[in-house]
Amino acid sequence: MIADDKDVLRDVWFGRIPTCFTLYQDEVTEREAEPFYLLLPRVSYLTLVTDKVKKHFLKVMKAEDVEEIWFEYEGTPLKWHYPIGLLFDLHASNTSLPWSITVHFKNFPERDLLHCPCNSVIEAHFMSSIKEADALKHKSQVINDMQKKDHKQLWMGLQNDKFDQFWAINRKLMEYPTEEGGFRYIPFRIYLTMSDRPFIQKLFRPISPDGHTHTLGDLLKEVYPVAIANEAKRYQVVIHGIEPLLETPLQWLSEHLSHPDNFLHISVIPAPSD
């Protein structure tokens, strides 16, 4: 049972999605490919944690049939540069587990996905997110004051799933002057399944000019009021697979439910019809 805010960080970090990887039916194989089962960390990235999957399927394939690996769920190519938990919440919440992902080695969907030739591309993406988040939170002061090795420690922490290693540094990114009551702006992104826009991102402060604490509800009212329109609940607002109450303070959410990239990734998805 959770008793402390600190435990929330652990729960967020150690969130896992049971996943079943199957090879796309049209891929050419030498023998039948068995599905591969894996617990994926919600806060990591698909291409960072699927070495085993790749290895598993390569065993049954010829080298010349293999191009860059990519993943797809029910026809939607999965963007590796979104955290895994976000992809799941956005596309597959309210479905039965394990999450079944189809693995492709051909016909890379150039229009939908970024290439990911190696882990350093993920690292660059991850670090640029952290830097962007700190620009919003502290005018980049904290991240710029850090040493190169601290940046490396953040990345290594994520790569090796080392909670302590990551948070030893990340806590500095979560500090703020007490008299200000929060960050300058909250780094957040709101994702909509129904929209062409990839996500919504705006400047939004944790505290109103008159000293009120902004809540999740305030944010949505300002940025995407449809999500909380009063009629029979049409949308779910999901972060890390849970639906926080709208009165949850935004600053708290940013400190506790942000992904390691320091962004609060919020999915607005249609509520299940039943």
């Binding site: 049972m1 959770i2 008793a3 402390d4 805010d5 600190k6 435990d7 929330v8 960080l9 729960d11 967020v12 969130g15 896992r16 999605i17 049971p18 089962y37 894996l38 617990l39 994926l40 960390p41 990591s44 944690v49 699927t50 085993k52 587990l97 394990p98 790569q159 090796n160 799933d161 080392k162 302590d164 290693q165 948070w167 030893a168 806590r171 979560m174 007490t178 008299e179 109103s208 000019p209 008159d210 000293g211 009120h212 604490t213 890390h240 697979g241 849970i242 639906e243 926080p244 109450l245 009165e247 949850t248 303070p249 708290w252 439910l257």
Partner: protein
């Protein structure tokens, strides 16, 4: 920081106070009087009322001001009457003071004033130097004056006994009139200004203050004899002057400045400890020679002045050697008066809107601050049923005060021709009633300008309300109200200015309507202030004040309240998140545990460089590489190893320690390096830790936090300490807790206490006490009381290793002492030239180490100096007027006066340093404590009162009321009277309270119970073998004490082999723990070591042997939280003797059962 008060008088003469923790001005209820001036200090507030008399308001405290009167009754023996009051003609009075020289009949003792009352009747003191006398309290001697003894001998010809009676100051929290009596009758003219300060000049007598006053004729008076026991002081003394004074200001230290009628300033010189009223004046010119000064305010090392054009000036270069400073700097802002408070913080009243302004950004390095910020909080009286009266009086009073400032400037310009300026002011002050009545139609010239002024000075409330307006867009209702009101006022302002009565009436109706709409804010809401005094207001540049934005202040206070009402932990949104995360784990993980993890766990290594103390020859710090390898242990527990790589004789070597074997990581006192030590059980035994130093404080803290988390992880320990935890404190003030294992008290094979694992908790304390339900109190070096909030971490533990919402800032202050030593020679007398064999002329207490003022550093880099070096007069043995103590030679016993045989002398210099940290502690203001004890109680309901007793740093015994599990800080102190100061207290089973007085005698408090928490009287218990006792600790059935030699003693006065003891502690279930002075290990000696007495049983309180635990600078331990029942292996030979104390209380078994114990166990 405890709350303190800012005092102010509004233009109607009403007194208000604003708490540093509050958000509204509280009207001081003694409303009969209207006040002109106030001067506040922390313990009281002095004021001049409209009757020109001085009034004193002493703030009530849980410890009353009481004074012990004493008289001696003397008798002589004669063969006829035996002992009788028939004395010889050459003898002393039958009733006398202690010397016998003064006649002191009991009925001659009178209360000093009507502000005092007797606490009870006279009674006989039956304690003589720590020993109880026989009934009657007589002490005997051969003759007067001689040495008295409690035993009557064959040659005892005289006897005497001491009578005592207490009187108590009763006029607290009320304005008590101080008669204006000089040394020779009533003072000639009434008072016009007053200023209180000077408490830093000397700490003796306690609570000493200087009070300076100015009379209407411009004379200055000094009031002497004000201190804790005589809050009203003795009498006024006139101070000669170079001119006529209008206003005076006295700082906390030796700074006193006054303003002359002509506009120059005068500075008092020669103020010292022995001469607090100073000796002479020095004239300083006004900042602007054209425009005279009208007001001055001084602090410890600042002087602020206001000239007649309302310009504000700051005096440069003020320090204790140069009270006159060097030059003026013009500041921004137009003010009518300024007040300098504690920490040289500054308040002022602005000319334009008569608002109180606070100077922001005043720090010890930037004394002039940064900017003025208006204090805008509502007054408690702002909701008034009918505001028309106050509107009109506002008008008139506004005239009156703006008139005063103007009048002065006019008058001093004309001072050559205009004869009697005082008269004019006097008239103005005494006229106020009539002016109020006829404000609109007066004919005095000054007042013709005032309506306009009043208009300018009462700004439209739109200004006041603008915050809500700016916050308005989101909330349309509010903005409409604001607009309407602003318009109303624009219409009202000029009308009020004209003083047109019909308009005023219409205003009042509008106001009522507005009040109906909005409640709090009427148009006349903006208070107009006349005087402010920050002398009792303890804020500094870090203090968070909620004074500056009334509207947001209100909303935020509502938020703060709602937070405190429903603590953040129980907020619905938080609960929801916790629950949902748990559900998510169940849904997404629990059924799929057999799936492979995407990322394999690997070893994580953190490396760094450090210095390591190589403790073999040549002893030195050597550079080493340091690494922590963490991995998952066999049972899923995280574990690790620390490695330390060094070179020895060109050869690479390393030391290592398993994280799960580390018992403690302890920061070590070192004035230059950031040092810590790593112990394992084995190294504890050997007294041979690994000592390491990091390059920076940051780096040390990062390592300590990481290693500490790692150690806790490996032992599966997280979160706050349990209620049973054993707390201890090092000489550095660091706080450690250990979770007790039941096997610690196992009998006959207890776990050795060197295996205990200690982890650090943030904060800084000198002493900690706890009980078994989780109430923990600590005392700082500065005697501040702190209560444990239930959190963990703080200090250098940040992020994950620390709880979030119950960590607070904690400060501590202590003095560093050095000694100045001198030797006498026949030519030059005492000089700093000693003999070649002498100690250093500047040294520590032992004389072995040189300690100069310049080279002495604070104890560790965490401390910063907050004062300069000053002679310390409070040394035991007394000092002369310059602080010297004399002796025949170093090092012998010193005395405070010079004799012919004294060839050396020394004096002690003290300098205070301060530490700021964070930890799970909240201050319990306001009384500083020197000892505290909490009843170790069993499980109980959350509302049940927990007995807690304490001793104040002045030796008062206090009983805390309202301590429960929910409110561990309690609510208030109940003072328990004693005839002398106390130093140690302990409460044990069945609410037995035992205490040790400063003279070393032991007392037992009778009749303490739940119904009567403070008990009824003290019983003097004779000390064992005439030993002076130092400390007491009470268990369930036994009382343990330590005497001044450090020998531990038991009720029946068994004395151990002489083992020096600092502190020791007894829990209910007869656990005896002490801190021993010195313990020898195989590698070194450790001072201040935790020791556990083995084999202590109810029937065998002496126990059998000592077991030695962690050591090397431990100061304090408390085991009174540990009520865990120890597993006991029953051995046939011991069974009869053994009756576990816990079974005694919990389930008193019939004897038969106990005997069958073995059978049952088999």
């Amino acid at each position: 920081m405890p709350v303190s008060l800012l005092w102010a008088v509004d233009v109607y003469g009403r007194v208000f106070s604003l708490s540093t923790g509050g958000q509204q001005w509280e009207h001081c209820c003694d409303a009969v009087l209207e006040f002109k001036r106030l001067t506040a200090v922390q313990q009281c507030c002095w004021g001049i009322a409209c009757d020109h008399h001085i009034y004193l308001n002493v703030h009530a405290s849980d410890v009353p001001i009481r004074y012990q009167e004493e008289a001696y009754e003397n008798q002589r023996w004669n063969p006829v009457d035996n002992f009788s009051d028939r004395l010889l003609p050459s003898d002393r009075w039958q009733w006398s003071d202690i010397t016998g020289l003064e006649h002191k009949p009991l009925d001659g003792f009178l209360l000093p004033s009507t502000n005092w009352e007797w606490e009870g009747d006279w009674y006989i003191d039956e304690n003589f130097g720590g020993e109880p006398t026989e009934k009657g309290g007589w002490t005997y001697a051969i003759d007067f004056p001689a040495t008295y003894t409690i035993d009557k001998k064959w040659n005892s010809c005289v006897r005497r006994r001491r009578w005592i009676r207490y009187r108590r100051y009763k006029a607290t929290d009320t304005w008590a009139k101080i008669p204006s009596e000089g040394q020779s009758g009533p003072l000639p003219d009434p008072f016009n200004d007053i200023s209180c300060g000077g408490w830093e000049i000397s700490e003796e007598p306690r609570g000493r203050l200087s009070l300076w006053a100015v009379s209407l004729q411009g004379k200055v008076w000094f009031r002497g004899g004000i201190h804790h026991h005589t809050p009203e002081g003795m009498s006024w003394e006139e101070v000669s002057l170079p001119g006529e004074v209008v206003q005076i200001s006295c700082g906390p230290g030796d700074l006193v400045w006054a303003v002359l009628w002509e506009g120059q300033l005068i500075v008092r010189e020669g103020i010292t400890r022995d001469c607090p009223q100073g000796s002479s004046w020095v004239v300083v010119d006004s900042p602007n020679p054209e425009v005279g000064t009208i007001h001055v305010a001084v602090g410890v090392s600042v002087v602020w002045a206001v000239t007649k054009d309302n310009k504000v000036w700051f005096r440069r270069g003020i320090n204790s050697h140069n009270p006159c400073g060097s030059g003026w700097i013009g500041m921004v802002g137009e003010m009518v008066m300024i007040s300098v408070g504690l920490n040289d913080q500054v308040w002022a009243i602005s000319r334009e809107d008569r608002a109180v302004y606070f100077r922001q950004g005043v720090t010890s390095t930037e004394l002039s601050g940064k900017a003025w910020k208006a204090v805008s909080v509502p007054r408690d009286g702002d909701i008034r049923p009918n505001s028309s009266t106050s509107t009109s009086s506002l008008h008139s009073a506004g005239c009156f005060f703006s008139g005063e400032v103007r009048a002065q400037s006019v008058m001093s310009e004309d001072s050559d021709t205009e004869a009697d300026p005082q008269r004019a002011v006097h008239e103005m002050l005494s006229d106020r009633e009539t002016k109020r009545d006829g404000a609109a139609a007066t004919s005095i010239p000054e007042e013709e300008v005032t309506p306009g002024d009043a208009e300018a000075k009462s700004p439209p409330p739109a200004l006041v309300l603008s915050p809500s307006q700016s916050g308005g867009p989101g909330d349309p209702q509010w903005s409409t109200v604001d607009l309407e009101e602003a318009q109303t006022h624009l219409a009202v302002g000029p009308a009020a200015g004209r003083g047109d009565s019909s308009d005023t009436c219409s205003l009042s109706s509008v106001v009522t309507c507005m009040l109906g709409l909005e409640g709090l804010y009427g148009p006349d809401d903006h208070p107009l202030w006349a005087w402010v005094s920050g002398g009792g207001c303890a804020v500094d540049c870090h203090t968070q004040l909620n004074w500056f934005n009334s509207v947001t202040a209100l909303t935020s206070s509502i938020q703060a309240m709602s937070l405190s009402v429903s603590p953040a932990q129980t907020a619905a949104w938080r609960k929801q998140i916790f629950e949902q995360l748990n559900e998510r784990s169940k849904r997404e993980i629990d059924n799929f545990k057999h799936y492979e993890q995407a990322i394999e766990q690997s070893v994580w290594v953190k490396k760094g460089t450090m210095q390591w103390w190589r403790d073999w020859k040549p002893h030195k710090w050597v550079d080493v590489r340091f690494a922590l390898e963490q991995f998952s242990g066999p049972e899923g527990h995280k574990d690790g190893i620390v490695f330390l790589y060094y070179n020895f004789n060109e050869e690479k070597k390393y030391l290592h320690a398993f994280i799960n074997e580390v018992t403690i990581l302890v920061p070590v006192l070192n004035d230059s390096k950031h040092t810590f030590a790593i112990y394992t059980a084995e190294r504890t035994k050997q007294r041979w830790p690994i000592k390491l130093a990091a390059a920076t404080e940051m780096e040390m803290h990062d390592w300590l936090a990481l290693l500490s988390v790692s150690c806790c992880d490996s032992r599966g320990i997280q979160g706050p300490p349990s209620k049973q935890a054993i707390w201890s404190i090092t000489c550095k003030g660091d706080i450690f807790v250990s979770e007790p294992w039941p096997s610690l008290e196992a009998c006959p094979y207890p776990t050795p206490c060197d295996q205990m694992f200690w982890r650090q908790v943030g904060g800084h304390l000198r002493l900690v006490e706890c009980n078994s339900v989780g109430v923990v109190w600590g005392l700082g070096y500065d005697h501040t009381a702190w209560v444990y909030t239930g959190g963990y971490g703080g200090g250098f533990f940040q992020g994950l290793a620390s709880s979030t919402d119950n960590i607070f800032t904690q400060t501590d202050v202590k003095s560093v002492y050095i000694y100045e030593n001198q030797r006498w020679n026949p030519v030059t007398g005492y000089t700093s030239r000693g003999l070649p064999t002498d100690r250093y002329m500047w040294s520590d207490a032992t004389g072995l180490h040189e300690c100069t003022k310049a080279s002495t550093k604070p104890p560790s880099p965490h401390w910063t100096w907050v004062t300069e070096w000053a002679v310390d007069y409070g040394v035991s043995g007394g000092t002369d007027r310059e602080g010297w103590q004399y002796a025949a030679d170093f090092p012998t016993s010193y005395h405070g006066y010079k004799t012919l045989k004294d060839f050396v002398r020394r004096r002690r210099w003290a300098r205070k340093c301060k530490l700021t940290t964070t930890g799970p502690w909240q201050e319990v203001p306001p009384i500083p404590l020197s000892d505290v004890t909490i009843l170790p109680c069993g499980d109980q309901s959350v509302v049940e009162q927990i007995p807690l007793w304490a001793i104040s740093n002045k030796g008062d015994v206090l009983c805390r009321l309202g301590v429960t599990l929910l409110t561990p800080a309690g609510t208030s102190w109940l003072h328990v009277g004693t005839d002398q100061p106390f130093k140690s207290i302990s409460i044990g089973g069945a609410s037995q309270v035992w205490a040790i007085a400063r003279d070393g005698s032991a007392f037992y408090r009778g009749s303490v119970s739940t119904q009567n928490p403070a008990g009824d009287c003290w019983y003097h218990i004779p000390s064992p073998a005439r030993q002076k006792l130092k400390q007491v600790s009470v268990g369930r059935t036994s009382v343990y004490t330590v005497d001044e030699n450090g020998t531990e003693m038991f009720p029946r006065y068994y004395s151990f082999a002489r083992l020096s003891v600092y502190v020791f502690n007894v829990a209910l279930s007869v656990q005896v723990w002490i801190i021993a002075d010195k313990v020898q290990g195989s590698h070194s000696l450790s001072c201040g070591t935790v020791c556990h007495r083995l084999g202590v049983q109810p029937m065998e309180p002496k126990g059998q042997a000592w077991d030695y635990g962690i050591g090397g600078g431990w100061d304090h331990i408390t085991v009174r939280g540990n009520n865990i029942e120890a597993p006991r292996v029953r051995m046939p030979s011991l069974t009869d003797a053994l009756r576990p104390p816990s079974t005694l209380a919990a389930r008193p078994l019939p004897a038969g059962n106990t005997e069958n114990g073995n059978a049952v166990q088999c």
